[in-house]
């Protein structure tokens, strides 16, 4: 029964008038609306108020996305339970939707809270998980790993890190302490390939530099930070640069919030970026727009490169017209972009660890971009690509632990190098020379060859590589495997023996993160649920049980973190004495540029770049020595060269970033799942129309290697002839229809150029 207290109120009078008007005249309601005195609508009714009451406020850093920006999270804790999240006031980054959904993830009913042991053989469908104690779990793990080390040598144990990345320094330390160089990560398909491009060319890595105060032109190449890192930093930097009149050249086949910043938007066909870069270099050299002094003084192989560009090596000059045929970007737009970046300087470039990292020519393509920046003299100059003069000597967890993990032991010259699986099987010589991780893309081969018999997996997903069933089968063949994770994820955990519950970001401390020049230490912001433990602690606990306590701080987390920060000269105690657990370390001097002149880019202190010739290697001496392309030689993408591609007219960009998910994670979180409930394939209206596909239709995406189901999203985001689909959908996995074709230098799979067709699901 609904009873109103008021009698015919002012409100009802208005209504009565309105109604009278409408009934008698059936007048257009617009006119009615205009006659209403808006003030009469306002009521002095009390607005409901939240009773906030007593709260504890805690601070932490987010680990929900893959880049590890460590955004600041402020938790409101009531009776030991987090009920609200806000951005930290003492932190430069505003967290994105993934960070906010921690509330739902932390308290998720299906979260893994206790150590679990399988009770059925790996061949059965149901692992029959039963809860065990930590003691029991650690004892089984230690016993099994020792047994395998005794039987096959410690290198038969793989230590593997997926995502999030913050366990890596400790996992790598455990691996090397155990005398196994077989430490690998998901960066085998992510950052490392792009990083190699820089290491080989200029002697330092990375994906370029954001604009600074003096930048006049920004090249954003195959990157969309609006969705890959939606937290409040990168895109915001672009917006303020744009406001100041900085010009943007954005290279991406799709239309994204990032490409909307573009003054020049180039939309090459997937996998043809190298042709575009070469044509831009051609224009810059041909029109004498390059920095002659820098090129003459500081580069190696310019003349060879010029010969290649001018067609003296293969009879094909790499003109804009040539590139138009390869990329479908109009020649005049290529010329316009080349002139802009070479004349409106300083120019900087930013790339990504996705985009054309997932290319059949990952390293050559990245090298071509570094060469472009070299030609226009933008290496280590203000407004261009910068190298920090005084980096804070705390390892970045995403790239592993470096000295903290004794990584030199698994690099060339190290005592464990020869025992690396990729070395034993002679895979990807350039990779193993430069990267302190094994190239995981050949994991099925390592297992097949009997090199790997057991695995310790942290946040691992068996399905990140093309043809994932090979990886699942390989995992199944192992004699023992343990996984550390947040949830039981059957596509991986069905093939392991033990799963251990990890504390989520807000429930743990390690590792400290460096943001700008500030070192942040987490506190335990949210009381950990169940028996979860933080991953650094779990890995040390395993180490202690293996008898490696001495090298693993005897399980003491504070001692481990202190060692991790030792070169920066700060301790956990000092951090905890500061509000927000953070210390800013001022740079000892002003930022310096052109450090190749002063010897600050090389460990030996000699002038030049940290490459074998001491110059920017346009012609790579390392690649030459390893019998790989020493120049960035363009080769057509696989949809043009593989005979199987015939009859598959569309090109699939597999795994472009979306804002709501990080890879295969977060599908369990309803707040995020509502934003993309099902696997979506984006298709251009032209391509949809010719196939009779409408927005929202059930479709199948078919390639020569398989087919998957999806929901069609008809949109101009993708150009004609190109479709895209996010990865990590169990049951509709783009990797199932992606072939095992690898960049010969890095071993990276060509995820973003798969020949497919999309058909209506009937």
């Amino acid at each position: 029964m609904y009873i109103l207290n008021s009698s015919l109120s002012r409100r009802n009078l208005i209504k009565a008038c309105l109604i009278a008007t409408s009934i008698t005249a059936i007048a257009p309601s617009l006119e009615i609306m205009e006659k209403i005195d808006t003030k009469l609508l306002v009521e002095a009714q009390a607005t409901p108020q939240r009773k906030i009451g007593e709260y504890k406020v805690t601070y932490t850093l987010c680990d929900a996305c893959n880049q590890g920006p460590g955004c600041g999270l402020k938790f409101y804790i009531k009776d030991g339970v987090a009920t609200y999240i806000a951005p930290r006031e003492d932190h430069p980054y505003i967290p994105c939707l993934k960070g906010l959904s921690y509330l739902q993830q932390l308290y998720h009913p299906e979260r893994l809270l206790y150590p679990m042991k399988r009770t059925t053989p790996k061949s059965s469908e149901d692992p029959g998980w039963v809860r065990i104690t930590w003691d029991e779990a650690l004892n089984i793990i230690a016993e099994k790993l020792k047994e395998i080390a005794n039987k096959y040598g410690p290198e038969a144990v793989l230590f593997y890190a997926g995502d999030p990345k913050e366990n890596r320094p400790m996992l790598q330390r455990l691996s090397i302490a155990f005398n196994s160089p077989n430490y690998g990560t998901e960066s085998s398909t992510c950052f490392q390939g792009v990083n190699m491009g820089g290491l080989l060319t200029v002697g330092f890595g990375g994906t370029g530099s954001p604009p600074d105060g003096s930048t006049k032109t920004v090249i954003l190449w195959s990157t969309n930070p609006a969705w890959s890192s939606p937290y409040g930093s990168t895109f915001k930097t672009f917006l303020s640069a744009k406001q100041k009149g900085v010009k943007f050249v954005v290279i991406d086949p799709r239309i994204t919030p990032t490409t909307k910043l573009a003054d020049i938007h180039l939309r090459p066909l997937p996998g043809t970026d190298l042709a575009l870069a070469l044509a831009m270099a051609y224009v810059i050299i041909n029109e004498n727009l390059y920095d002659k002094e820098f090129v003459e003084m500081w580069t190696y192989g310019f003349e060879e490169f010029k010969k290649y560009l001018m067609g003296e090596m293969d009879g094909e000059p790499k003109t804009p017209e040539w590139a138009e045929k390869k990329t479908s970007v109009p020649a005049e737009k290529i010329i316009e972009a080349a002139r802009l970046i070479a004349t409106n300087k300083p120019t900087t470039w930013m790339g990504s660890a996705s985009g054309d990292a997932h290319n059949h020519q990952t390293v050559s393509t990245t090298r071509a971009k570094w060469i472009l920046m070299t030609l226009i003299g933008m290496i280590d100059v203000p407004g261009g690509i910068r190298v920090s003069t005084y980096p804070i000597p705390i390892p970045s967890p995403g790239t592993g632990g470096m000295w903290f993990s004794f990584n030199s032991r698994m690099l060339p010259g190290g005592d464990l190098y020869e025992k690396r699986a990729d070395v034993k099987m002679n895979f990807f010589p350039a990779w193993r020379r430069l990267v302190d991780q094994i190239q995981m893309v050949r994991f099925p081969e390592y297992v097949e060859a009997g090199l790997i018999k057991a695995a310790v997996l942290v946040g691992a997903n068996s399905r990140i590589h093309p043809q994932p069933s090979l990886f699942q089968n390989a995992l199944k063949k192992l004699e023992f495997a343990v996984a550390i994770d947040y949830f039981i994820r059957p596509w991986t955990h069905n093939y392991v023996d033990i799963v251990l519950p990890a504390a989520m970001g807000p429930e743990r401390i390690a590792p400290p993160l460096v943001i700008g020049r500030t070192v942040y230490l987490r506190e335990i912001a949210v009381p950990p649920r169940g028996e979860v433990r933080e991953d650094w602690q779990i890995l040390m606990d395993i180490g202690v049980k293996l008898g490696l306590g001495e090298k693993l701080f005897n399980g003491n987390l504070t001692a481990a973190i202190n060692e991790y920060m030792s070169k920066a000269g700060i301790t956990v105690e000092q951090l905890r004495a500061q509000p927000g657990y953070k210390i800013t370390i001022p740079a000892p001097g002003p930022e310096e540029y052109k450090k190749y002149e002063t010897g600050k880019l090389r460990p030996d202190g000699k002038p030049g770049f940290n490459t074998p010739t001491g110059k920017v290697e346009i012609y790579s001496t390392i690649l030459k020595e390893l019998n790989l392309d020493p120049l960035p030689i363009y080769r057509d993408p696989i949809y043009r060269t593989l005979p199987e591609a015939n009859g598959f007219p569309l090109i699939l960009l597999g795994g472009p970033r979306v804002p709501m998910y990080t890879h295969s994670k977060q599908r369990e979180i309803p707040w995020l799942r509502e934003l993309m409930p099902r696997p979506v394939v984006r298709i251009n209206p032209h391509d949809a129309e010719t196939r009779g596909i409408r927005d929202g239709d059930e479709v199948v995406v078919v390639s020569p290697w398989g087919k998957i189901n999806a929901v069609a999203e008809v949109t101009v985001i993708v150009p004609k002839g190109v479709v895209d689909m996010f990865h990590g959908w169990y049951g509709s996995d783009v990797n199932d229809i992606t072939p095992r074709v690898f960049d010969p230098i890095s071993g990276f799979p060509a995820y973003k150029q798969v020949p497919v067709d999309v058909r209506k699901d009937s």
Binding site: Y2, I3, L8, E34, Q45, Y84, L97, K236, P670, L675
Partner: protein
């Protein structure tokens, strides 16, 4: 007088949906209930795409308030259009009346079979974190949260790029008032005359905006007022509404039949009764109003384009 409103700079929006989730986190809304939605609209030639965060426009002339038979929907003294759940009978009239399709009749479902810990504790705060089944929900500008004064509503506080602004439109020094004064900020479907308090910078053309998946209707249903002497029990019949998702450019006849409304007055109490015997008349009237509204809108737009 304080008159709160939003300005959203679409040239800064990165289409990330952080506002959508911030709203859910702050207000603990139920499954698939999004007070903020992120819409995408496109242009084929030359190809272009816009992402538009979208929610209650907090109209000054709010049709939802006008039609509400119980006084549950109201505009508060700061210009925020709100729903008093204790008075809402879930009749759905306001859902129909809202030309922006920004209201939702919620069922009161929960995400999991039982409330999660953060929900249990959060709900205890009351305000709009507490949810009632069968009432109409919508954006509240987080006006129930004492922190809103300092930081703005959750969507503004969490917007990673600063694309969202919130403040007092009557305070000439506020960011929102400045943006509105600059003339850059426009409202969606301003021709409807509801005077929305949500402004946008960088909106696409009207033709593109017509793709917004919102209803093409603008209806004031005609309740009948009569005085009776005895108290009656409220009879609530289900309102079946058909969602019309066609763009506004298409004139169409609404086939929806709204139940007749009878507001009865007694000596001390007013009782709401919903009857179905008014169907035919109502249908005709409503249809007429819709056609009238649409033609008026079309005329208005025509004259605007001139």
């Amino acid at each position: 007088m304080v008159r709160y409103g939003f300005v959203m700079d679409l040239t800064k929006c990165q289409g990330c949906s952080t506002c959508v989730v911030a709203c859910k986190m702050a207000n603990l809304t139920g499954p698939k209930v999004q007070w903020i939605k992120l819409f995408r609209v496109e242009q084929q030639e030359p190809p272009d795409v816009w992402w538009i965060p979208y929610h209650c426009m907090h109209c000054e002339v709010a049709p939802c308030v006008v039609v509400c038979p119980t006084g549950a929907s109201y505009v508060n003294d700061k210009g925020v259009v709100l729903v008093d759940y204790s008075k809402c009978i879930g009749c759905g009239l306001c859902v129909n009346a809202c030309p922006y399709d920004a209201r939702e009749l919620v069922k009161g479902e929960t995400y999991f079979s039982s409330l999660l810990q953060y929900e249990e504790k959060g709900i205890q705060e009351g305000g709009y974190r507490q949810h009632v089944p069968n009432v109409v929900e919508k954006c509240t500008m987080c006006i129930d949260n004492p922190e809103t004064q300092q930081y703005g509503p959750a969507c503004v506080r969490h917007c990673p790029t600063g694309a969202r602004m919130w403040g007092d439109l009557d305070d000439p020094n506020s960011e929102v008032a400045k943006q509105v004064a600059s003339g850059k900020a426009k409202t969606i479907l301003s021709a409807l005359g509801t005077k929305p308090k949500v402004y946008y910078i960088g909106l696409p053309s009207e033709k593109v905006l017509a793709q917004l998946p919102i209803k093409a209707r603008y209806v004031i249903p005609p309740p009948k007022i009569e005085t009776v002497t005895k108290t009656q029990t409220a009879v609530q019949t289900t309102t079946t509404t058909q969602t019309v998702t066609q763009p506004l450019t298409t004139t169409q006849t609404l086939t929806t039949q709204l139940p007749g409304q009878t507001i009865t007055k007694t000596e001390s109490k007013t009782v709401i009764e919903t009857k179905s015997d008014m169907k035919t008349l109502t249908g005709a009237v409503v249809g007429g109003i819709v056609i009238g509204a649409l033609s008026a809108y079309a005329l208005r737009r025509k004259s605007e384009t001139k």
